[in-house]
Amino acid sequence: MKVGLKIWRYDSKSGDKALREYEMDAPEEATLLDCLDIVKDRQDGTLAYRKSCRMMICGSCGMRMDGGAVLACKTRMYDIAQAGHVPVISAMGNLPIVKDLVVDMDPFWAKIRAVDPYLKPGYDQAAERENVVSQKQMESIHKESLCIMCGCCVSECNSMESDPDFLGPAALAKGMRFVGDPRDGATVERLETYSEEHGLWDCTRCYFCQERCPKGVDPRDAIAKLGAEAMHNGIDRDMGAKHAKWFVTSAKTTGWLRETELVPKTQGVISSIKEMKFAMGLAVKGKVPPPFPPHVAADVHESRALFDLVKEQGRDGALGIVQGERALMHLAHDAGGTDGAYGKGGDYPVPYLPEIDKPEPKPEPKKESA
């Protein structure tokens, strides 16, 4: 088949930038990566891009096609070529470009390192025997464990674009992989760190990470799980956490969001007073509904009773999100089809649905034998 590509060429040393068009004959099963190989082998040896495994495992070939991050080795060209479309290929976003399609991954790795991406069991040496964990317990972090650190989720992260210091979806999903690990003994310490400025409460919920991830990690859901775990552990000083808590209070008291009180409940009274002038501007347009008399939903007592009931049942924290993943798995990777990325079912994450009401407790960190 004939394949056309427009590739953004860039040299960070000279600053030269150009959109070059290439055309080639490629086998029908060719991926974007195969096509780049053809360009490099036969047309232009100066084209720079990263690759290694060619089979969606190493995470080297993340790049943008028509502005959206993809793994080049996962992207088949047949349908695109048949449609006569010539896609624009460029380097991933939110990372500095070194040359052509190669980005500098240093800022990415710095953020991964910042979440301490290793197990902290809370002891140096296991006392008597290995710390055995059930398959079921590990399945609750299976999705987060699938990350190949390609950077596709980071490429279009809207928060990171506006705040380059934001830890971002890859690092936070990695953090959840350890917060949810029953062998880890640093849960509270981790949640404190991840809840700081530029941490989990900086996520703007644009869901680009979820859309782009080629492995089904669902980083935005991982960030929500971190938030749920933080709240469950009483780590709720951040304004983002207070904001979220006010929605819970609203739902169980009046049913509807108590919108006007949201600002002082999130930012505190002092900051809210500083916002007075802004608020008055909105108030004259009816954008600041008076809190009294409250706008109460009919039968709100049901909503209150439901809150008490679910709290008694103890599916707190991340478990409340994990329990819904078995259903969402049916929608993972190409909605509607039962075939996954490898052309057969079963290659997507298999989440964990607890059959008991309460999660298995984390094993107590063992003390070194005296």
Binding site: S162, Y207, E259, A297, D299, H330, H333
Partner: protein
């Protein structure tokens, strides 16, 4: 007439009443009969999903249950965030019987009917650009007289596409289709599928404003007369927080922001009292003037 259960959500009940009023006035013209739900609460807006996820699921199950009790097969929303929250919970309840049974037992014990999973949650945008497009074409006879309109989708009506799925998340077309049908000219610009910053506008204002300025600035540069959005949260940040952009950057965009129901409503000849433009922070006057000429 298609009868649908109507869930207006928090903002359309409170600070964005103009969205509710214009939707109620417009729906019959598009062949949609709204049955407003009384006994419903907030969907949790992603915040309860994060703070108390199990409670989020139950709150949304309760909304779906009361929608089902109306006898309708569709729950219509007018907010992106409500749409994602309700669709996500709905998929979980429809596809996982064990989970549905547990949630239903809980609903029943507090006096809420069990939810059997028959409801489809649809945003008004999808009905107007999809099943009810012929009625929209017929109703939008007054036209927008070639006004240049910048479509702004907002995030949670596009992504995650596996839960939403009406539009191509990278190349959506539904708003453009509606703008054209109403006699306007859709403006294309890169930020139309990006975030408006609203979810973190209180906790991280600087980051949020850096997101917010992109669609407004790009739409202005592309010559838009107004921006239209299907989400009241996007509307609130785009409209009400423009003054903060002015304070921070010195740029006074004065970009009118329309709810989708208002845009169609103008073309369908809704009255001033049904459009409620006076509830906007940024004046819609300039486009009203253009339409009058």
């Amino acid at each position: 007439m298609k009868e649908v259960a109507y869930y207006k959500g928090c903002l359309a009940s409170l600070s964005a009443k103009e969205l509710d009023i214009s939707t109620q006035a417009l729906a019959p013209k598009l062949g949609i009969e709204l049955r407003e739900l009384d006994s419903v609460t907030c969907c949790g807006a992603g915040d309860i999903h994060e703070a108390e996820p199990d409670y989020y699921l139950h709150l949304n199950a309760r909304i779906l249950s009361y929608a089902e009790a109306t006898g309708c097969d569709t729950l219509m929303t007018v907010c992106n965030v409500c749409t994602l929250n309700l669709r996500q919970a709905n998929h979980q309840l429809q596809l996982d019987e064990t989970l549905r049974e547990r949630v239903n037992d809980n609903l029943e014990s507090v006096g809420v009917p069990r939810y059997s999973g028959t409801i489809d949650v649809l945003h008004f945008l999808w009905m107007a650009a999809g099943t009810h497009f012929p009625q929209l074409q017929a109703a939008a006879h007054k036209g927008l007289k070639g006004l240049k309109i910048a479509p702004f989708y907002g995030c949670q009506i596009l992504r995650p596409s596996k839960l939403l799925g009406f539009d191509d998340p990278d190349k959506p077309e539904s708003l453009e289709r509606i703008i054209r049908a109403c006699g306007g000219e859709p403006i294309d610009y890169p930020a139309k599928i990006k975030c408006c910053g609203f979810p973190i506008i209180q906790a991280r204002e600087d980051t949020a404003l850096a997101e917010l300025i992109q669609p407004i600035e790009q739409a202005k540069e592309a010559g838009a007369d107004a921006i239209v959005t299907p989400c009241p949260l996007c509307h609130l940040s785009l409209d009400a927080w423009q003054s903060k952009l002015k304070k921070q950057t010195g740029k006074d965009f004065q970009m009118p922001i329309l709810h989708l129901s208002q845009l169609i409503g103008v073309a369908a000849g809704l009255t001033d009292s049904e459009l409620k433009f006076k509830r906007h922070v940024v004046s819609v006057g300039p486009i009203v003037e253009k339409l009058r000429v």
